[in-house]
Point group: C2
Chain length 361, copies 2
């Protein structure tokens, strides 16, 4: 039995133990070929089968309609901050961006290099503690798409309801990928780094509506074009073999566990346990986020002082409750509770929080 | 003892067995942390140490002077086909490209989207069977850089002598990375995919002359800017953790084996064995490449007919001599004999080739 820490990392983050153990077993000599999978040609039958399975499972587990293709790209979600406007923002069109927090800001910064980009709603005034209602989002004429960050990993907020704004949505879903159902009809494109709910880092999974690929920009390097990757089934160049392989294993696990609905309800339960612990602490633990917009993936909270936060984090570490420090840009504490994090880890954290309060409250 | 095939894949390709076995051992529970390395924050101490070690070893093993920085990027060498001209090709300048084969053609195709690009030498007439001498390369006024593909993986050719043309070189060195010493003073930038000599796919290693970063273009998304990655020590965003980890192990192995000079001499010896077998076959096996330009990494050869080639490949596979099929665009056979391929595998192939000839000649 492998020792396991309670791993609350915001990403890369905990993966299902059985996926890791399976990968370990077949790591050096894959299916008795005398080679590791990472040593094989990506165009050979073994990896092609792995990649095809992973693609099929992406579509199945995430309940993606046939109007979309899945792409396996590199460069993380941040590469998509560039690729989205490069490809979609055709001359004469604008792009609206919801500025909901740290990751939205990154997307806006990069998009500005590629066209006419405007802020359709700005969360700065509220300190990024909530997402906008649809009625607050101001869409300008000639808007090609509205970009949203469906879950802000650092601020710990998510959309309780999907925006309904009359233009196609593009979503950075990195930190709640495959943790809730998506209204696909609203979206032209969804992207996210794999290193939260889906597998190791080094892989960005993109779902793109096929019909838009005829109208994307093409005067750019081929790696940067969605249509090129789509036409080559993400085998335009050597893909990140190991990350795709692990993605396939994680997706099989999700499917076996019951799929998207089960992931969604487990996330709600785990988040509920933590928010209850916070809310029932008499203000000792506090979450700055608007209750309706609380993330089910990244639970941020503060203690009464930074000194207590330091003590909390140190003692948590001694109890194998790892990676609970808030992002360096905002401080405080953050528990990332992605799909693969067992409920028992959340229970252990809640128990530790209650204990810490009783000793230091 | 793990079963091992003789793996002549052009990439992803064979890696040192001891690196694979070490990675397997620590895969699920890294250094008794209760986590896999791929589950840890990339900003935590364990991965930061892994990444710093890999960077330091890149500089040390490849004998890179301090004037350069090493960058760990994603998107493969093909992403660099875009990033190089995007960053380096400033207004008023041109870029010369040596069209030496399949990969050079790709670099040229992508570069054309970003500025004034010309062919400084064209290998089409000779069927890409050799590299140019310096005197054949025509440099135009206002040339910012000359791009070369130091080893053409598909055509099996390399530069016996480095071009001396009076402008900075940019080199795609993917398929002979860290297999021969580089005259760094000639280069502004060298790049290559890791999945040949350096590790698994999903990682592109770039060496950039620091002094040029003050003069690169900046009006683009941040992931596409060398200066951004350099200023963040390749931690601008989540890096491909597992690929960097394996790179570190492979570099340690290279250093232990004796470093660059040993890799170079072993490659010459292994290539020598194969070319001798071809040359001494009385024309049964033939290599189309100009003798002086024969690659030490990718040995291409033909048999008297396509039927015999099919038979050769099938029988080779039955003898655990894997991935010997030439690239689908050119046919024939190809043995990729990268750093980690044991000499014994080349000897086994030579022996099989002699045997096949005696039975079918």
């Amino acid at each position: 039995m492998n020792k396991r820490a309670h791993n609350f990392s915001a990403g890369p983050c905990t993966l299902p133990l059985e996926c890791l153990e399976e990968a370990q077993k077949e790591f050096v000599n894959y299916h008795d070929t005398g080679m590791s999978l990472i040593e094989m040609s990506h165009r050979g039958k073994h990896f092609v089968e792995v990649a095809n399975d992973a693609m099929r499972l992406c579509m199945e587990v995430f309940e993606v309609p046939d109007e979309f293709s899945v792409l396996f790209l590199q460069g993380g979600a941040i590469m998509q901050f560039s690729m989205v406007p490069m490809n979609l923002l055709v001359p004469g069109k604008k792009a609206g961006y919801v500025h909901s927090g740290t990751w939205a800001k990154g997307a806006i910064t990069d998009a500005k290099a590629y066209g006419d980009v405007y802020i359709a709603w700005n969360g700065e005034q509220c300190g990024y503690t909530r997402m906008p209602d649809s009625g607050e989002i101001e869409i300008q004429d000639d808007t090609r798409y509205l970009h949203i960050t469906t879950n802000e990993t650092i601020e710990g907020i998510r959309y309780p309801n999907w925006p309904d704004v009359g233009v196609p949505l593009v979503g950075d879903m990195s930190s709640e990928y495959m943790a809730r159902p998506v209204p696909w009809e609203k979206f032209d494109l969804i992207y996210g780094g794999a290193q939260k709910n889906l597998g190791p880092s080094g892989l960005c999974v993109v779902f793109v509506r096929k019909s838009i690929l005829e109208h994307t920009n093409s005067h750019m390097g081929r790696y940067l074009r969605y249509d090129v990757h789509e036409s080559k089934t993400s085998m335009f160049n050597t893909p990140p073999v190991f990350s795709i392989y692990m993605l396939g294993k994680v997706l099989k696990w999700m499917k076996k566990e019951g799929g998207l609905k089960v992931m969604e309800s487990r996330a709600a339960e785990k988040a509920g346990l933590l928010y209850d612990t916070i809310d029932q602490s008499g203000g000792y633990y506090s979450c700055p986020v608007d209750v309706a917009c609380r993330s089910h993936m990244n639970v941020v909270f503060r203690l009464p002082s930074e000194e207590l936060e330091q003590q909390f984090l140190a003692e948590a570490g001694q109890n194998d409750l790892m990676h609970l420090k808030g992002h360096r840009s905002v401080g405080g504490c953050r528990a990332s509770i992605y799909n693969a994090l067992p409920r028992a880890s959340v229970e252990a954290l809640c128990s530790f929080m209650s204990d810490f309060l009783s000793r230091n409250g």
